[in-house]
Each structure stands twice: as structure tokens, then as C-alpha cells.
């Protein structure tokens, strides 16, 4: 699913959070959004999935204005893993994940065999099968994050927006998620926009970086081209170099002691 953003402004109260953003994302691209806290990354994702309304500018999906889709059509095309951790009352893991199928259901066709296949697959992929009958409120933070990810996968949107998806995950599941995201884009052609704070992981697992600073897009391109010592200094206010792991050649950020 291609995404086109033109002159996007978002104002929250008196706070002008996004100050004119332009970019195009091709179908199947894997894009990392990086930038310091409060720069507008989450606001951008929330605007793309219509939780927030832009004060100016437009968002197009496959060339059509996002407002031209019905709510359900939008929900079948765009999914969000947000940072909020709302825990529903007395809801089992399986029930939570099955809610992801809501956009694909009609009132009189509440569940179908197709639904069950998506739900089972999402639960298996996120390795929470052993938790399926347990209430979500009794899981650890990392387990809950995997449940929320499974719910997003059950929704099966073409464009997946993930806001800091690694939060709460242990190292094994962080890498498992990043490899899953690679599979989703490479094997299934899904488009991914992911907010990350770990710049080394962003450079390694994504084929494009959007760097946001103070509500503006300040850099956009291949990780190797975008991530420079100058950019780290200007945007993240750190003195650092871009190095490479000797064994794998993967890029890493090497921070120097500040002051």
C-alpha cells in the first residue's frame, strides 16, 4: 500500500506539533521513524490512521484521499500498534487477539472460519499460544506487548504503523519481532512505518529512515546515507560516530562521552 503525505500540519491545542511534512512511501517499503522525544513521531502515526485530524495538508492511500475511505475500509488497510497499554477487563488473550478481526466482520457474520485462521496464525507467530486462555491483565508487560502485536496482525492491514513496538520485549523477542517485520514486507508485501529509538536497529532492519526533528522531516533516505555524525549531533544532541561490527559489517552507533 503506497502512502503519500503532502504539507501535513497538525496542531494539538496551541502546540503546532507537525509543521509541514512531505513524503511518499512505496508499497512494501520498511520505514523507520526516528527522532528525539516529543518531535512528532507518534503524532504522525496517529494522524495517518485518522485518530488525529490534520490542521492542513493531506494524506493519500494508493492515490486516494484517506477521508474517501469508509471507517471499515480504512481499518482493513491501516493498523496501529500504539504506545498505550489499555488492559481490558476479564479478557483472555484469544479474545483480545480476535478483536483485531472487527473490521472484517459484519454484525450478522460475527465469526467465520477465516477469522479463526487469522487469529490462530497471529497467536502462533507471536508465540503466545501457551497464554491463549489466560486473562490479559495477568500477563507481564512484554507478554502484553506480544498480545497487542498479535491483535494487530489478526487485523491484517496492508499498512502497519508501529509505535515503539520493542518496548517491554526481551532481547530474543525484540529480534524475533524485527525479523517478523522483515518477513511481512518482503514475503507479503506489506508496508511498514515503525517508530524506533534504537538507531542501530533502525539502520540494520529498515530500508529507509525518516528523521523527524521539532515537527519537521529533516532527513529521508537510505540508512547508510542519512545517518551521519553531523545528523546525530544536530538532531539527537550527541557526539557519536557510525561504526560497523567487525564480524557482520552491520552499522552501529558509537557514542562518545558527553562534555
Amino acid at each position: 500500500m503506497s502512502v503519500s503525505v503532502k504539507d501535513l500540519h497538525v496542531q494539538l491545542g496551541s502546540n503546532h506539533v507537525l509543521k509541514g511534512m512531505d513524503f511518499d512511501i512505496k508499497s512494501g517499503q520498511r520505514v523507520a521513524l526516528v527522532g528525539p522525544n516529543g518531535c512528532g513521531k507518534s503524532t504522525l502515526l496517529r494522524t495517518l490512521c485518522t485518530i488525529l485530524k490534520p490542521s492542513q495538508g493531506e494524506v493519500r492511500l494508493e492515490g486516494e484521499l484517506i477521508q474517501s475511505y469508509s471507517r471499515r475500509e480504512r481499518a482493513r488497510k491501516i493498523g496501529l500498534l500504539s504506545q498505550s497499554d489499555v488492559i481490558p477487563m476479564m479478557t483472555t488473550v484469544r479474545d483480545h487477539v480476535s478483536i483485531g478481526r472487527h473490521p472484517h466482520r459484519s454484525y450478522f457474520r460475527d465469526r467465520s472460519s477465516n477469522d479463526a485462521a487469522f487469529i490462530d496464525a497471529a497467536i502462533e507467530v507471536c508465540e503466545i499460544s501457551h497464554l491463549a486462555d489466560r486473562p490479559v491483565e495477568r500477563l507481564s508487560g512484554g507478554e502484553r506487548q506480544r498480545v497487542r502485536l498479535a491483535t494487530l496482525l489478526a487485523q491484517s492491514p496492508d499498512l502497519l504503523l508501529l509505535d515503539e513496538p520493542l518496548t517491554g520485549l526481551d532481547l530474543e523477542h525484540q529480534y524475533a519481532l524485527l525479523h517478523l517485520l522483515e518477513d511481512l514486507s518482503q514475503k507479503e508485501g506489506r508496508t511498514l512505518m515503525v517508530v524506533l529509538h534504537d538507531l542501530s536497529l533502525a539502520m540494520r532492519f529498515f530500508d529507509r529512515l525518516l528523521v523527524i526533528h521539532e515537527g519537521k522531516l529533516v532527513a529521508d533516505g537510505l540508512p547508510a546515507d542519512v545517518m551521519t555524525s553531523e545528523l546525530l549531533s544536530e538532531v539527537f544532541n550527541i557526539q557519536a560516530d557510525i561504526g560497523h561490527e567487525p564480524a557482520t559489517g552491520q552499522p552501529v552507533i558509537i557514542c562518545h562521552r558527553q562534555g
Binding site: A75, V86, M89, H102, E124, L177, D183
Partner: protein, 346 residues
């Protein structure tokens, strides 16, 4: 997380099957409770009527006195109790879902305090106009609910569960203060006010049933209509928007339905506590989650209030206790017992 999403797996239908069985057992249980409660309510009272005579009355061949007692007094009273219990239980279920607050009940949105204030005004200032109580209490409940919703509304942002709860607390505090003021100023009328505020079905007839059932039908219909959306909204407003749910519209429908259901219940029975808060929890524990919750809660609320009214009538006969006292005494300890047993809340 090593395999792609498109993996197809065997369908697991066993969980769905168990769920249906659990809902069917739960629903059967509460329906049986209502049927037995209805029979007992018709047979027992100041004058006990043998079961055979109850059946004769219901088939149109009973004696005149029995027919009058059952058809003009006990039957409408029992049906009113079932409908009020049903209304309060659905109201609580809806409010707990839209506010995402397990402690939400009709009292939270000002409905109870609004009805209580309106009734207190009538009982204190216009005691000779007590016949107006139902309609005035209903109006008070609706006005309070509208005030809570309007106060919780922000232009551009709509309502939010948190603002709704805080607005309800604020409105309840103000209305409670005014009720206290009226009780102080009209101390000689406190017994009548206290009886009303504890809830009762004494003297309720077919007119009250006619006041209730349209709200029950409409409330159940609205609740079932928005049920799939409510499940999504329990994941939070942002998640609901991204799942295609019209959040603000759904919250308004649920709020309005809850207010109408609780307002109509209060206008007929006064203030009956506990049902709206605890019945949805009891049924979640019985059903093992939210699946089938609305219809089963509705029937369970009716059953609980029917049995509570029966106990209220018989426990200290010929005197009658407020039914709210019984609902609290039966339901509170049972709820505590379930809380200790429930795996959900460990």
C-alpha cells in the same frame, strides 16, 4: 515469532464450543431462577396461595380473590422487579464498557442522584403530589445524565471515559449536597425519603410495567446493536478508531441507553443499589469473560431483583423491607466470595 503471518493453521473450535456451552448453561440457570422466583412470588405473601390455585388463576379458572391478588398485585409487581433488574444490569454493563471502569454503575453518571433529588423535592415540598414521583424522578435522572455528558464534553476532543467519571463524581457531589440540605430542612419527611431512596416495589402495578417495558426493549436492542463495538472500545479509544469504530457515537448511544434504562428503573422502584455494579461482574465470572455478557446479565439482573423483592416482602412480614437492603445483603457477600475465588483478579 519466526513464521510469517500467512501461515494457515488448524481451526480451533473447541474454545468457541466451550464458550457457547458456558453461555447456554449460564442463561439456562438464570432463566430457571426467574421462573421459580415468579412462581414463588405469585404464591407467597401476606396470603399464601397454593400452587394449584396459582395455576388455576394463570389458566383463567381461579377464584376471584386469588385472581385479584395474583393478577392485580403480585404478577405486575414481580414483572416490574424483573424489568427493573434487567434495566439496571444492562445499564451497568454498558457503563463499565464505555468508561473502561469496573466500578462504573448507574450512580456514576448522575442518574441515581438526579432521580433521588427530584424525588426528594417532591416528597419534601409537594408530599401531596407523590403520584408525580415516577415522572419527576425520571426527568431528574435524565437532566443529571445530560449535565454529566455535557460537562465531560470538550470541543474538538469529544468525551472521554476519565472526564465522564470525574463529571459524574462532581454532579453527584452537588446533587447529594442539595438532597442533604432538603433532608435537614424537611426532617419530618425523612422516613418517606429514606424508603424511596432504598428502593421498593410496594404497590407497583401494571401502569409501572407499562412505564418500564418500552425502555427495556429499547435498551436491550441498543445494547445488542453496539455490543461488537463495545468489545473493541475496551482496548482504548485509539485502538477503537483504528478498528473502524465510531467511538464518540458509540459512547453517546451507550451512555443514552444506560441513562434511559437506569432512569426508568429509578422512576418505578426508587434507588436500588448493587444490581448495576455487581451483576455484570458476577456474570463475567460465571461466563469466564465478556462473551454473551449482555443478554445473560439482563436476565440475571431480573432474577436477582425478583428474588430480592420476594425476600423483602417475606422476611419481616407483614412489614416490608426496602428491596435495596436485600440486594446489598445478598449480593455483597457473594461478590466478595467470588472475588476470592476468581482467577482473574489474583
Amino acid at each position: 515469532m519466526s513464521t510469517p503471518l500467512s501461515v494457515t493453521t488448524q481451526l480451533s473450535t473447541s474454545i468457541g464450543g466451550r464458550r457457547w456451552l458456558r453461555v447456554a448453561i449460564g442463561a439456562t440457570l438464570v432463566v430457571v431462577l426467574i421462573v421459580i422466583g415468579l412462581i414463588a412470588s405469585l404464591a407467597l405473601g401476606a396470603v399464601d396461595i397454593p400452587l394449584v390455585d396459582v395455576i388455576k388463576v394463570m389458566t383463567g379458572s381461579g377464584e376471584k380473590t386469588d385472581t385479584q391478588i395474583i393478577l392485580q398485585s403480585r404478577l405486575p409487581r414481580s414483572i416490574a422487579a424483573v424489568l427493573v433488574g434487567c434495566n439496571l444490569a444492562i445499564s451497568g454493563t454498558l457503563l463499565q464498557a464505555v468508561t473502561r471502569n469496573p466500578l462504573a454503575d448507574p450512580g456514576l453518571i448522575g442518574v441515581t442522584a438526579g432521580a433521588a433529588l427530584a424525588a426528594t423535592i417532591v416528597l419534601a415540598v409537594l408530599p401531596s403530589s407523590a403520584i408525580l414521583l415516577p415522572i419527576v424522578a425520571f426527568a431528574g435522572a435524565m437532566i443529571a445524565a445530560v449535565v454529566v455528558y455535557v460537562v465531560s464534553w470538550r470541543p474538538g476532543a469529544g468525551s472521554s471515559p476519565m472526564r465522564m467519571i470525574l463529571a459524574g463524581v462532581a454532579v453527584n457531589a452537588v446533587l447529594g449536597a442539595v438532597i442533604g440540605l432538603l433532608m435537614t430542612a424537611f426532617a419530618d419527611r425523612i422516613p418517606a425519603m429514606m424508603f424511596w431512596t432504598s428502593g421498593s416495589f410496594n404497590g407497583r402495578g401494571w401502569g409501572h410495567v407499562d412505564m418500564l417495558w418500552p425502555y427495556t426493549v429499547a435498551g436491550v436492542g441498543l445494547a445488542l446493536w453496539i455490543r461488537p463495538r463495545l468489545a473493541v472500545m475496551e482496548l482504548g479509544d485509539d485502538a477503537a478508531v483504528t478498528m473502524g469504530v465510531p467511538v464518540e457515537r458509540t459512547r453517546l448511544i451507550a451512555f443514552a441507553a444506560a441513562a434511559l434504562l437506569a432512569g426508568s428503573a429509578a422512576s418505578v422502584a426508587g434507588l436500588v443499589g448493587f444490581i448495576g455494579l455487581v451483576v455484570p461482574h458476577l456474570m463475567r465470572l460465571l461466563l469466564g469473560g465478556n462473551y454473551g455478557l449482555i443478554p445473560v446479565s439482563a436476565v440475571a439482573g431480573g432474577a436477582l431483583l425478583l428474588w430480592s423483592d420476594l425476600v423483602a416482602r417475606l422476611a419481616l412480614a407483614p412489614a416490608e423491607m426496602p428491596v435495596g437492603v436485600i440486594t446489598g445483603l445478598i449480593g455483597g457477600p457473594y461478590f466478595i466470595y467470588l472475588l476470592y475465588r476468581a482467577r482473574w483478579l489474583r
